[in-house]
Amino acid sequence: MDTDGTQVRMADYLRDHHDKVVGRWSELVVAGLRGRTSLEEVRHELGYLYSLIVRMLSAADDHAAGELRAALDEMSRSRARDGFTPAETALGVFSLKQAVYEFVADAAEMVPEFLSFSRSIDDLGLRTFEAYSAAREQIISDQSAAMLELSTPVVRLWEDIVAVPLVGTLDSARTQLVMERLLDALVTTGADQAVIDITGVPTVDTEVAQHLLKTVSAVRLLGAECTISGIRPQVAQTIVSLGIEFGDIATKATLADALALALQRAGLKVVPA
């Protein structure tokens, strides 16, 4: 809201002193980024922002504010990608105030204009900070999804025997993924035996055990038998002391033992050549 025309007057001032202010602003930004960018690049980028800021302040059209927000978000993202901290990006925006101040310092009549201009620039600088956070959140969630995908392969151990080597913690999200992957593999391969190897699962508590039992239940509903392997000695002690019962599910120390059991169930025997 610019009821007293301060913003419009500021916009006029900025327009009149375009080259000098953009020049000074670029110098300040380059100094703040400690030589990691070139003056030319920065001038080009800031020149564009400057014209958007002027348009917004002069309320010349409705699109200026939206374009400015989009341009700031894009700058925030690309600075983040290039490894600059959000503070460096925000300070870059804030240094426009410094640049303008150096020119209006002697003009007392510009004080109200400068104050309201300063507030607008504060908002813009904070916006870059928010954009940075949002971008990081997105990266983190993308990486989590990728990690989830990577960590549950289903491999074929032998004809009609599949195995799932689990690595990492087994929470309900992973369990869901493991169940889906394993069951789909059973349908595709027609396997009637599955081995779930938990050597890579760091802790087995009651929750993890429940997830395992659920998975075995689901596998059995598809007519396949399930063996759990990779029971480490400490894990065995924890399971017993927690009172977890695996019932009639076969559990083995190593994948090799589980394979031997599965072959036996399939009526196969390994003999020397």
Binding site: Q176, M179, E180, L183, D184, L186, V187, G190, D192, K214, T215, S217, A218, V219, R220, L221, L222, G223, A224
Partner: protein
Amino acid sequence: MEQVPIVKIGRTLFVSIQVDLQDESVLRLQEDLADRLAATGASGVIIDITAVEIVDSFIGRMLTMIGSISRLFDARTVIVGMRPAVAITLTELGLSMKGVRTALNAEKGLEILNGRS
């Protein structure tokens, strides 16, 4: 309400469920199966649920009950072709379908009934 067809091949009754079952259809199936078991003296029942996408706890219990009814006629039941999504749902619902065997498909189900598995 659809009537699910029951086909007799040898000593086995085949039931192939092609549509998502309504509750009354399942009850009807139970009755029909009991009638056929009594009439034919079949020793095995295969229920193929490959085409079934949704199974709730009611249907899960009904399938287990069908297993119990068959046992009263000295017949064994094998439920075949369960979809992964259905298996996950039943597990989440805590229904382990005790008392019925399950197999991946009708062929494997038949092997179980004929004692070859």
